[in-house]
Symmetry: C2
Subunit: 759 residues, 2 copies
């Protein structure tokens, strides 16, 4: 027994419907289904999404993740009254997502306005074993008297993305006694979705079917005796394709056959099969903690759950959306979040998936080349927002200024070019963690070359040195600056890595090497000042600072923009999120501990943390600097981004990157896992609230199990592996335990690292 956490919805509340629909969403990387209640509520947004299924619904719109016809809705009538938790009385309540097997369950005893009590149980899951499969059960037990029960469910294609319709209904069918099938095509005819469902009731009922106004329905009506339970079992197969090798009829027939196979197995067997797949996930990637409160373990399980549910491990033609497969925020587009916040988890637990994510970028190189070309640069300029095609998907214009009617060009797509170097960084990290030479030779070198080529063309010569002008670094509150430290260092690292790996793999081209060598010598890399603070860009240090206390208290809500215009914010020392600190995090070999601490001390008070990506990075850097109190505070704040009290924090989906950050905060923060000069380093130091931290880690061909407590670090490895532990480089095999006291570390639970131990 793994004893996994459950995520609970504390009680029905109309205000938090969409938060729980997002954070308790089920998914398997192929499809995601929001955890909406079976019955409708006016403010409840249903959602079913398929990774990579994007479409543009009209003018002034961008490609977005298509909200598919709903299959989870059930309209229940009890003695003629429509069941809703808004009326009557909820006498008992339990609603939870069980991470162990991925089952979302609700169990309630409800008293109707007429006074009769009913037990209502529902369960459902999205299968991790058979990707197109969703199954659910819905049970009704009248407790006080017999009851007239009527159930209506089916395939409801009236769903939209906030009114934007993507799908044409091509045909709807009823097949056999229990089968329903709807065939839909995106309006551009590029993709076809076939939804097949079986709806079976456990007792004889008057049943009929209907098809009208994009709703294909199955209706059951029956009398249920007091104490008897009637259960609707609905099994759904959601297939899609964008090639049409088979005829529609044949394809639809195959889908029905797949569904039939599942129906034969039945809910419990299908759940068991999926639970086994989840067990493998937990064994290979679960982080366990002994902590003062079970919340921390729950947050870590929550993170791994969504890191699995959102990641299209099956298909390298798509990547991870900013809200995973849990909602429509950011239109389901893919950002740098994937490489910087999500890839580390995969790198260290399931490197094949990390490879897939990089293959996605490689497959989409043509869009990146086109974007560079259109802007007059060589190489590959990856889109700031990406969907299925690799074209730039960032809306050309931001949301309209409703006061002036003016639409502003979106600056990120124009100038937030660091994503190019971020992808190169991820390529290097992947190779370092895997030594996957085949990947480096086939895709990696191309990615490194193309990205490096971009930077070499992007830089401009000023008085004999190369500078990078007019960019936006990760801190989006400082736009259109020159020599953003993050960008320049990462570009340098990008070009240096390209050169290194081309030499290493014997692919050197003299022209490229010469240009690269010149770039590496001449590119201006901002220097730290006497206090060790690296200036964020050419002008940042000369700007005034203001008191940010009140804005920091409402971090994430961008309240600064209520008091100042963007232009004004741009002219002050105000950071939305980690920028130099982020750089310190990504390139540990480039900055010593004193510099990191100085940057943290200088920039953190100037940072509002209005981006959900900010605090986690500060936390990891703080941990590396030995400030465990700050690290802990930011780790906990990071978990609250979706798991906190704000009932609307996650209405449009979870913050995908934040789940990566929960994992990273534990592993790259408290366990001190980092790659330095291509090698694995560990320097754990647990926060006071944790007594033990345990996690698996993949490193090249070895599988490690690492256990940290306040007194010792134990590593079990399947293969001999070189690790630098608290600054001491060792080759380990089998099981080895390191006592903190041997490394002159304090053992009081707030262990500090020895000065100079790492980086």
């Amino acid at each position: 027994m793994l004893n996994l956490s459950v995520l609970t919805d504390p009680g029905f509340n109309p205000h938090s419907l969409n938060k729980y629909a997002s954070i308790m969403a089920c998914g398997n990387g192929y499809m995601g289904i929001r955890a909406t209640h079976e019955e409708d509520y006016t403010q409840q947004t249903r959602g079913m999404y398929l990774a990579g299924l994007y479409h543009r619904a009209g003018r002034n719109e961008t490609n977005e993740l298509v909200n598919l016809p709903d299959v989870t809705g059930i309209e229940l009538q009890l003695d003629g009254e429509t069941f809703t938790l808004l009326t009557g009385e909820t006498l008992s309540w339990q609603r939870e997502l069980a991470f162990e097997n991925g089952e979302l369950r609700r169990s309630a005893i409800w008293r109707s306005p007429k006074g009769a009590r009913f037990r209502l149980d529902s369960r459902r899951f999205v299968s991790l074993a058979q990707l197109p499969l969703m199954a659910m059960q819905y049970s009704i037990t009248p407790l006080d008297d017999q009851a007239q029960v009527s159930l209506k469910t089916g395939i409801d294609a009236t769903q939209t993305n906030s009114g934007r319709q993507h799908l044409d209904e091509i045909s709807v069918r009823v097949i056999g006694e229990t089968g329903l099938q709807g065939i839909y095509e995106t309006q551009d005819r590029a993709s076809e979705v076939v939804i097949s469902a079986s709806c079976r009731l456990s007792a004889p009922a008057e049943s009929c079917f209907s098809a009208k106004n994009r709703r294909l329905g199955c209706h059951h009506a029956l009398t249920v005796q007091q104490g008897e339970t009637v259960t609707l079992e609905k099994i759904v197969w959601v297939a899609w394709r964008s090639e049409k090798a088979l005829s529609q009829e044949t394809f639809a027939g195959h889908c029905m056959k797949q569904l039939d196979g599942c129906v034969q197995q039945g809910y419990d067997a299908l759940l068991a099969e999926s639970a086994r797949a989840w067990q493998t996930v937990w064994l290979n990637s679960r982080v366990t903690v002994k902590a003062d409160t079970p919340y921390d373990q729950m947050a870590l399980d929550y993170a791994v759950w969504h890191l699995t549910a959102m990641t299209p491990a099956h298909d390298e033609r798509c990547s991870i959306a900013a809200k995973g497969l849990t909602g429509e925020g950011y239109k389901g587009h893919i950002f740098w979040d994937t490489e910087i916040f999500l890839l580390p988890f995969h790198l260290f637990t399931r490197p094949a998936t990390a490879r897939n994510l990089l293959r996605y970028r490689w497959l989409n190189l043509s869009g990146a080349r086109e974007k560079a070309r259109r802007n007059g640069w060589p190489g590959a300029l990856f889109p700031w927002e990406s969907a299925a095609s690799g074209q730039e998907e960032t809306p050309e214009f931001a949301a309209i200024n409703i006061r002036t009617g003016v639409r502003q060009k979106v600056a990120s797509a124009l100038a937030e070019h660091h994503i190019v170097a971020d992808i190169a960084w991820a390529v290097v990290a992947y190779w370092q963690a895997t030594h996957d030479d085949a990947f480096m030779r086939h895709e990696g070198l191309t990615l490194l070359m193309e990205t490096a080529t971009f930077w070499m063309g992007r830089a401009v010569e000023v008085n004999g040195r190369l500078e990078i002008h007019d960019v936006i670094g990760p801190d989006e509150y400082t736009e259109h600056v020159n020599n953003n430290a993050y960008t320049n260092y990462m570009a340098w690292y990008n070009v240096a890595s390209a050169l290194t790996f081309m030499r290493q793999f014997g692919c050197e081209e003299s022209r490229f090497s010469e240009s690269a060598a010149r770039f590496l010598t001449q590119l201006w890399l901002p220097k730290a000042n006497d206090e060790g603070v690296l200036p964020q860009d050419d002008t940042f240090m000369s700007k005034p600072a203001i008191d940010l206390t009140s804005y920091r208290a409402q971090a994430g809500k961008q309240t600064i923009l209520l008091d100042y215009s963007r232009a004004e914010v741009n002219e002050m020392q105000i950071l939305k999120q980690a920028d130099v600190v982020m750089l310190n995090y990504l390139l540990p070999e480039k900055f010593d501990r004193r510099e990191c601490a100085a940057n943290l001390a200088f920039y953190e008070p100037r940072t509002i943390h209005d981006s959900s990506l900010s605090k986690a990075i500060h936390g990891i850097v703080a941990a590396r600097c030995g400030d465990l109190a700050m690290a802990w505070r930011y780790w906990r704040d990071g978990t609250a981004i979706d798991l906190g009290d704000d009932p609307h924090s996650s209405d449009e989906g979870i913050h995908a990157a934040a789940t990566g950050a929960i994992w990273s905060g534990a592993i790259q923060g408290f366990a001190g896992v980092q790659i330095v000069e291509g090698e694995l380093h560990l320097s754990p130091a647990l926060p006071q609230a944790w007594q033990q931290l345990h996690f698996p880690l993949k490193w090249r061909n070895a599988s490690l199990e690492i256990t940290v407590d306040s007194e010792a670090l134990t590593i079990v490895t399947t293969e001999p592996v070189q690790v630098t532990v608290w600054g001491v480089t060792l080759t380990l095999a089998g099981q080895q335990t390191f006592l903190c006291k041997d490394f002159h570390l304090s053992v009081n639970g707030t262990a500090t690292r020895k000065e100079g131990d790492d980086a």
Copy 2:
């Protein structure tokens, strides 16, 4: 004081939300707005429609009346709780549509789940004085304590037609302190809709605006003291155009200026202005009865209300949809209902509107010609379903057979050709009632000629006589028959009228006249049998009859099709609706009273009345035959089509034709108004439940006021007019009273007409 009825919603019930949203809908012929509650309910369908604004939303779809962005929704939060009548307790309730001024009002005292009581009042109307104008007020009064009130409203473009989106959002703006404006275009770019709104609160509040996901919102938050009332006044201007003479900016600017003018006037002044326009309507077309129950008067007021609200009197480029402007049933298409069921009301009360409706057909002649041509016939074959362009809009295939996956061709569009003659009939009736020679010369003759030409090409020669094969008459349960009596007689009447009027207007063409004369001589007109029964078609009389009692008991629900296939029904003596009886109604001069009574006696028991168009016609013919009991039963049944108890009767909109039938049942039934040989006939006979019937009537250049009670008929006319009263032709001037006893009529309230008095 006209003392008009109010239509009341007896109480909040989730099951009947859409019924009352339809029957209490506001409209002015230009725009219709469903009477949805301001707060959302999951099963409540909002709707705002503009006459003539159609669009096709995708493949496998047809042109449909576009459901526009919603302006009526208001999300109200009271002390943090979202207001909904599903929770808490409704302590008092009044909801009504006042026909006098067109105001829809709700007044409720509601106790929140937390226990605090609030008075909530809302009022709104669609202006009959300024067509693009809608205004509403929404008031909140905390009764027990001060309360935190938050209101959210705006322009919500997430509305769809059951998931089908027609509009692109082009821009959204906030203008000044209270103005909102959204500009939308149909996805085919043909039409542009500009919705401008002002939202003003009666008390200072924290206010802000938002624009996201097709929702342009205006938010107010404030504290309201106990006993104080805060009122939101929202004024909305809904403009659309399909020509783009002005720039979008200029057009939008004009809209804002119009809105500003209305805002200056304010709700009460705007309502008074609209009420004055309604007063004119009531003076010119209200039917009043002294009856045993006020229900009858309410039904008559209800009919005139919707006959006005649904009719685009302002624009001859559109006509009346099958559900008026109250819902999306039949996609908002225009059927023969307009000419046969709705035109008589306009003809006799506002002939200019009747002229517009015929102009609509004339403007769309090219579509009718095209349809004829495509099918190999000359002349004009008007589409069975029509929208903006005059093209055939009937879906080529009926709803899919979800069992077989087969879509069946829709038979109506293929063979229900009588609509051609129905339109010709309406042209003749219009000229008879108005002597509008200009119309006849310009549009009427063309319509008569083109329709007559169609019939001459449509008929086939069989053994020396002309027959019309493979048609569907009004009775749609009998498909693809030869020599349907209704069709043949109406075609004959069509050709005869064309010939007559061409001669009368000196436009005779010898070739047409010769063909017409031959057609009129040779067309086979089925003959009545010895009992006086006219056979419905060549084969009807030889088919078996079955007991229809159980199906008749559920008239309107098409339950026969649960037991028999359409093919089986076709082979039995089963009528969906009036067919020969309808013919008797339309051509009174062709059939004597004995024949009418014989047809009624024969066909009525064989008729299920599954069409809402059936009973009213039977009622009128029954009244003409003196069977007032039957006439009364059917009139009352006709009112119940929308006003009856069925909570779902009108979910997709009211039955437009049924409102015409309520008027016709009174005027053409009980008052015995008919046009015979081109002249006005009256032979009133009131049902027992009515003591008096009063109504205005236009006849050529005269305005008549007619009063009927059990003893006398009084006619007041503005001009001398020739009328045949109870079979006696007289020329009247001023006021004249006829005593029933002078005509040897019984005066016991069930007056029967003298045998042979009329037709």
